[in-house]
């Protein structure tokens, strides 16, 4: 670089650089203000992830109900288990807290935390393998939740979401301009029932997915440790009763010995007497799945609901 730069050139450049940084911050703030001010279109209000607020309201509404059971997982729990059926069969209030693995287990539980009741609640953990593998604090899905909840506090906690929020705000403006109202027939907020089960898929027939190329997600021991540490420090240490039940998996998943080791490790995590699960019951044939993301169809949902009921019954008798 030229060494003969005069002081005035240097100070001009310094001023220009600082101005650029300042304007960049101001522009971001202006766009965030637009996000806060803009009313959401039906496209956003009807989105699947907008159900996070419904789940929080459901947990708050039922807080204090005696013997409440809350199922926690990703979309596998939402699609594949009927809390409604479980509630009827167990004669206890059961709620489905599963939404989407991409939110991140820790992020979701941080949201749920104020609505849990250590005196009454049993937390049933049904983490899909994808949720264990990809439980990151930052993800596009989590940023979407921040966006849909207009959650400034959490945006400050995760500033990497700012570009996502700006992108979504731009899309919101486009929805307003185009009058778009289309919402996915399965992934929609109105697909959940009052106890948090997703029911929008059970009347839709789709051919079974092809799991011949199925590969186990990359779940390192550090990821399992991180999951365990969070459960210990934030759930069990608060006095919440915790039970682990395996999530439904495609059959090929059971060919990996890692899966059994993970299940054994997580079974020991529970604060209540650990239950040894027969893992083969949770590894289901492709015909019972609705799509390649591990979501069960109507028949599969019956099987996995029965699996969870059996695990809860076993726990009750232990």
């Amino acid at each position: 670089m030229p060494s003969s730069t005069s002081n005035s050139d240097g100070s001009n450049a310094k001023r220009a650089l600082l101005a650029l940084a300042g304007v960049f911050v101001l522009l971001n703030m202006a766009l965030i203000a637009l996000w806060q001010a803009i009313p959401f279109t039906p496209v956003s209000e009807g989105r699947y992830l907008a159900s996070v607020d419904d789940h929080l309201a459901m947990l708050e509404r039922s807080k204090g109900e005696k013997g409440r059971i809350i199922l926690i997982g990703g979309s596998g729990a939402a699609f594949s288990i009927s809390a409604e059926t479980l509630g009827e069969e167990l004669d206890r209030p059961v709620y489905n807290g599963g939404i989407q693995a991409g939110i991140g287990f820790r992020n979701l539980m941080d949201l749920y935390a104020p609505h849990l009741d250590p005196d009454n609640d049993l937390i049933v953990l049904l983490p899909e393998l994808e949720l264990l593998a990809g439980d990151e604090r930052y993800s596009a899905t989590w940023c979407d939740v921040v966006y849909l909840r207009k959650d400034l506090g959490r945006l400050v906690g995760q500033p990497r979401c700012v570009p996502h929020v700006i992108h979504r705000t731009y899309q919101e403006v486009r929805h307003h301009l185009t009058g778009s109202t289309a919402v996915d027939e399965v992934y929609r907020r109105s697909g959940f029932n009052d106890v948090g089960d997703l029911t929008s898929h059970i009347t839709i027939d789709r051919p079974p997915p092809d799991f011949s190329e199925y590969r186990l997600p990359d779940i390192s021991p550090e990821k399992i440790d991180r999951f365990e540490a969070y459960v210990q420090d934030n759930l069990i240490a608060r006095g919440l009763a915790v039970l682990y039940v395996p999530a439904a998996m495609p059959e090929p998943a059971c060919r990996w010995r890692d899966v059994e080791a993970i299940a054994a490790q997580l079974s020991a995590l529970g604060s209540v007497d650990s239950v040894r699960h027969d893992l083969t019951r949770f590894c289901l044939p492709a015909e019972l799945f609705f799509d390649g993301a591990g979501h069960l169809n109507r028949e599969g949902r019956v099987v996995q609901t029965e699996n969870v009921r059996a695990a809860l019954a076993k726990y009750a008798t232990n």
Binding site: M1, P2, S3, T5, D9, G10, S11, A13, K14, A16, L17, A19, L20, V23, F24, L26, L27, N28, L31, A140, R160, V162, P163, H164, I166, H167, Y170
Partner: protein, 477 residues
């Protein structure tokens, strides 16, 4: 490691911090160069650590050859050292880049002649950036031989010159006399270089992430369905690919120059708004400038030596562009693409009056249409994997011609690319800021600041919402 990925933007600040710590404490040039070399090798080894062996060998060959030339004085050994360097560099390049091409061509030829040639070929990986750093080391040896550059006795300094990570994998190709002296002193970024660097990086990322990466799916879709698409869509495909490759490569160059500026190192300009040119020769003066200058100084100049007849100059031009085409890739499509540009240059030289730059607007405009139009049309050769594909694209563009019914949204990114060029017009860097002549000084500064801040926001939004980072196209050459 790509400039457009998060990994790089963790790596680069760490390098900057280490360099700053050295400047503030040790103030050691050796430590600075060791840091730069270490960082460059980490950057390069990120692709594949095995590539490092090749760059070390390439470095040592020319380092030793240059010192050999110096020791040889005027004796014939001086020329022998040059021959060793040229032979070794071209052998490395030839083996890794052209071996399979030539063996494949030989097999085809023998098969046509009725000779059985069913032997298997080697699985050779093309090391990233080999075409660029090999030319750089080659230029060093040739410059030392002709005494245009001094041989560098310090191996560390020379190794940094070869491997300096901002320009290692896709240029700008730097001459030794410009870059090596910058590693002989403690690099000292100034507020000016920091300001320039940041703006060049933003502009480069905008070209790459917002324009090139957004055009890539259009181009890929069009080339995937070329046999069934109408002429309008195929012509759009050529237009989009021309803009994509420009935004990709000019973006890379801009980021490279900006990164170096943040470290206090000045690199050569590599692009100067070539798509605003009104002649093919002007386009090439603004396109991949350091490569064009390499071919001018080391290929064209050699071929043109002797009596300067028109036919000799024409042949030298065509041969130089033939080599340039071959450099771009081991495929006949590249060779024909390059040669066609050489032929156009020769024709342009012969009928210069018809296409020369002129102050008359209509002449400039028609020159631009001819220049840009031909570049776009020839780009189909560059993008197509073989002549059959290119022929179908050309054929259907004419026989199935009609207004495009789909893929029109990409025109937005074409317009953006021209807007960037219009603001940058006539400049090789950003020294004078953007072209906003209708504004007073304060207004210009405000508009520039707003534009760069908005561009950075667009870069970040596009970077976080894409599926994965696209590699820079020129890394494959």
């Amino acid at each position: 490691m790509l400039f457009s990925t998060g990994t790089f933007w963790l790596f680069f600040p760490a390098v900057l911090a280490l360099l700053a710590a050295n400047r503030l404490t040790l103030r050691s040039i050796t430590v600075q160069n060791a840091l730069l070399l270490g960082a460059s090798y980490v950057f390069y080894g990120w692709w594949d650590w095995r590539f490092l062996g090749l760059i070390v060998v390439s470095t040592l060959i020319d380092y030793v050859a240059a010192l050999g030339m110096q020791r040889s004085g005027e004796s014939p050994a001086r020329k022998r050292w040059l021959h060793i360097s040229v032979f070794a560099n071209l052998s490395i390049l030839g083996f890794f880049k052209y071996f399979n091409f030539f063996v494949g061509e030989l097999k085809s030829g023998l098969t046509v002649a009725g000779v059985n040639a069913d032997w298997s070929t080697l699985e050779i990986i093309l090391p990233v950036g080999i075409s660029f750093y090999t030319l750089q080391t080659l230029s060093y040896s040739i410059d030392v031989y002709y005494r245009r550059a001094k041989p560098e006795p310090n191996l560390l300094r020379y190794a940094v010159y070869v491997a300096f990570f901002p320009q290692l994998v896709a240029g700008p190709i730097e001459r030794a006399r410009k870059l090596i002296p910058q590693f002989a002193v403690l690099a000292q970024p100034t507020w000016e270089s920091l300001n320039q660097g940041v703006r060049l990086i933003i502009a480069g990322l905008f070209l790459k992430i917002v324009i090139a990466d957004n055009l890539a799916p259009f181009v890929d879709r069009i080339w995937a369905a070329y046999a069934s698409l109408g002429g309008g869509e195929l012509l759009l495909g050529m237009l989009y690919f021309s803009i994509q490759i420009y935004a990709d490569f000019a973006g890379y160059s801009s980021i490279a120059i900006g990164l170096a500026a943040l470290m206090g190192i000045q690199l050569s300009t590599n692009f100067a708004t070539p798509f605003l040119a009104s002649s093919i020769s002007a386009l090439w003066r603004g396109w991949n400038i350091t490569l064009t200058l390499f071919f001018r100084d080391y290929v064209y100049a050699e071929l043109r030596k002797g009596r300067r007849t028109e036919s000799r100059i024409a042949l030298a031009n065509i041969a130089t562009f033939f080599v340039s085409g071959l450099w771009h890739g081991a495929n006949w499509t590249f060779i024909v693409w390059g040669t066609a540009h050489g032929v156009l240059l020769v024709l342009e030289r012969r009928w210069r009056a018809a296409v020369t730059l002129s102050e008359k607007l209509w002449l400039k405009l028609s020159g631009w249409i001819y220049t840009f139009g031909l570049f776009v049309v020839l780009s189909a050769l560059f993008r197509s994997p073989d002549f059959g594909t290119a022929w179908t694209v050309y054929n259907r563009s004419v026989t199935e011609f009609g207004l495009p019914q789909s893929e029109r949204f990409g025109l937005l990114f074409v317009a953006l690319a021209f807007a960037v060029d219009a603001l940058w017009r006539g400049q090789t860097r950003l020294d004078q800021g953007l072209r906003l002549a209708w504004l007073d000084r304060a207004g210009k500064e405000m508009a520039e600041t707003l534009l760069f801040a908005a561009a950075l926001i667009l870069v970040l939004v596009n970077a976080v919402t894409r599926q994965e980072a696209n590699a820079f196209i020129y890394f494959q050459f």
